[in-house]
């Protein structure tokens, strides 16, 4: 697979698109980090909640619990994010 730089043939790319390439790369890396952190936290907290006694296999009930837990965790994340940003914007800090 061609790398991003090679496929654009950097010699010919304008300065504008070079800057754009950097920005896209940084944005993408941030998104991957963010996703990884969320997956870690969801796994940790939902495993703790849904599989207190690990059996021979993941039961149907445990699987359902994990799926619901994941949605719940993401909604909790959004609630916290909204609240935290609201607070730090109040400038009483």
């Amino acid at each position: 697979m061609d790398s991003l730089g090679n496929s654009f043939g950097m010699g010919g790319a304008s300065a504008q698109s070079k800057k754009q390439i950097w920005m896209d790369k940084i944005r993408q890396e941030a998104a991957v980090d963010q996703a990884r952190a969320l997956i870690d936290k969801v796994s940790e907290n939902c495993y703790e909640k849904c599989v207190p006694k690990p059996g021979k296999e993941l039961s149907k009930g445990e699987t359902t619990c994990i799926n619901m837990c994941m949605e719940k965790y993401m909604s909790a994340w959004n609630t916290v994010s909204r609240k935290y940003i609201e607070r730090i914007q109040q400038k009483d800090i």
Binding site: K19, W22, A30, K72, Y73, T79, V80, K83, I88
Partner: protein, 93 residues
């Protein structure tokens, strides 16, 4: 896949203006990442305090949601209290 593909895009090719803009962009992204990492920490901590019953739906109930919000608010209050008291103690020296 080549993991070092970023290195073939040369930063020195950028105009001073683009460099400045890119620096600003990186600063913004770093700020965003810092906020998100705090949100991860708070969600984890507040989840453990507020989501105490069994998971039976994919959304937060009427007790859990305000609990998550209060958890964020009180955490910041506590942080402020610590800072204020520290300031006081410093003044006594």
């Amino acid at each position: 896949m080549d993991s070092s593909s970023g290195s073939d895009i040369n930063l020195t090719d950028l105009s001073p203006n683009d460099k400045k803009e890119l620096q600003q962009f990186v600063n913004n992204e770093a700020q965003k990442a810092k906020i998100q990492s705090t949100v991860h920490y708070l969600t984890d901590m507040c989840w453990k305090r507020c989501i105490t019953s069994k998971i039976s739906t994919g959304s937060m109930d009427s007790y859990e949601k305000p609990c998550m919000e209060n958890c964020v608010d009180r955490y910041i209050d506590s942080q402020m209290t610590v800072l204020k008291h520290l300031e006081q103690l410093r003044g006594q020296l």
